[in-house]
C-alpha cells in the first residue's frame, strides 16, 4: 500500500529497506571515502565549472569563467517546484 507523503521543502527520497543485502567483504582494504572538505573560502577563487542550463527558451552550456569581468551571484536551491 502506498503511504501518503508529507509535503515539505526538501525533496522526498527513498532508500533500501528490509533485510540488509549481504555483501562480500572486499579482498583489498576498502578505499576510505575521501571526505571532500573543499569548502569555499572568501577571498579565494571560485572553482570553475561548466553546466547545462535553461535560458529564455534555449538549452545552453554555461561556464563560470565566461563571466569574468562581471559580478556573479551563484545560487543553489533544493529543487524545482519546491515551495520556498
Amino acid at each position: 500500500m502506498a503511504e501518503k507523503l508529507k509535503v515539505g521543502c526538501a525533496r522526498p527520497t527513498g532508500g533500501p529497506v528490509g533485510e540488509p543485502v549481504e555483501t562480500k567483504p572486499l579482498e583489498q582494504p576498502a578505499i576510505v571515502k575521501k571526505e571532500v572538505t573543499s569548502m569555499i573560502k572568501v577571498g579565494r577563487k571560485a572553482p570553475d565549472f561548466e553546466a547545462p542550463a535553461y535560458l529564455k527558451g534555449e538549452f545552453v552550456s554555461v561556464k563560470l569563467s565566461d563571466y569574468l569581468g562581471q559580478w556573479v551571484v551563484l545560487c543553489f536551491y533544493p529543487g524545482d517546484f519546491t515551495f520556498v
Binding site: 565549472f49 553546466a51 551571484v73 533544493p78
Partner: protein, 132 residues
C-alpha cells in the same frame, strides 16, 4: 543551480515561474545532476540528494567575496544580497581606501581606515547606523 535537469527547469518556468516573473527567468538556470558542482561548493547534501540554499557572490576577478548557506525551509533575503554586492562594488571602486561598516547601504558614510581612525571609530560611527 539545482539537481534538476534542464527539461524540468523549462517546465517549471513555463508552468509556474513565468506567472510570477513576466517573460520568465532572465538568467541561466543551471543543472547539477549528481551534485558535482554543489559538492565542490560545499552545499550538496548527499543524504537528501539535493543542494542546500547556498548563495555565493563572485567578483569580476572570479574571487568569492561572500556566501550564505541556509537549510531548505527558509528563503533568502534578496535585498540583503544586493546590499552586499553594492558594498563590495563600492569598496572595490575605492581601491582599498574605504570600508563599509556594519549596516552600510548606498548613501551612508564609509570608513577610511588609517592610523588616525584607530580607536576613534566611535567618534564617526554610531551604533544606530548598524540599523536601517
Amino acid at each position: 543551480m539545482s539537481i534538476d535537469s534542464v527539461f524540468v527547469h523549462k517546465m517549471w518556468v513555463d508552468s509556474e515561474l513565468s506567472k510570477m516573473v513576466k517573460g520568465g527567468v532572465p538568467f541561466p538556470m543551471l543543472s547539477d545532476a549528481g551534485g558535482k558542482v554543489g559538492t565542490i561548493y560545499g552545499v550538496y547534501d548527499d543524504d537528501a540528494g539535493v543542494e542546500t540554499r547556498g548563495r555565493f557572490i563572485i567578483d569580476p576577478d572570479g574571487v568569492v567575496q561572500g556566501f550564505e548557506v541556509l537549510t531548505p525551509p527558509v528563503g533568502r533575503n534578496v535585498g540583503e544580497t544586493i546590499r552586499q554586492i553594492q558594498a563590495f562594488q563600492h569598496v572595490r571602486n575605492s581601491e582599498g581606501t574605504e570600508a563599509a561598516p556594519s549596516g552600510w547601504s548606498p548613501g551612508k558614510m564609509t570608513l577610511k581606515p588609517g592610523p588616525d581612525l584607530v580607536g576613534n571609530v566611535w567618534k564617526v560611527w554610531k551604533t544606530e547606523m548598524a540599523f536601517d
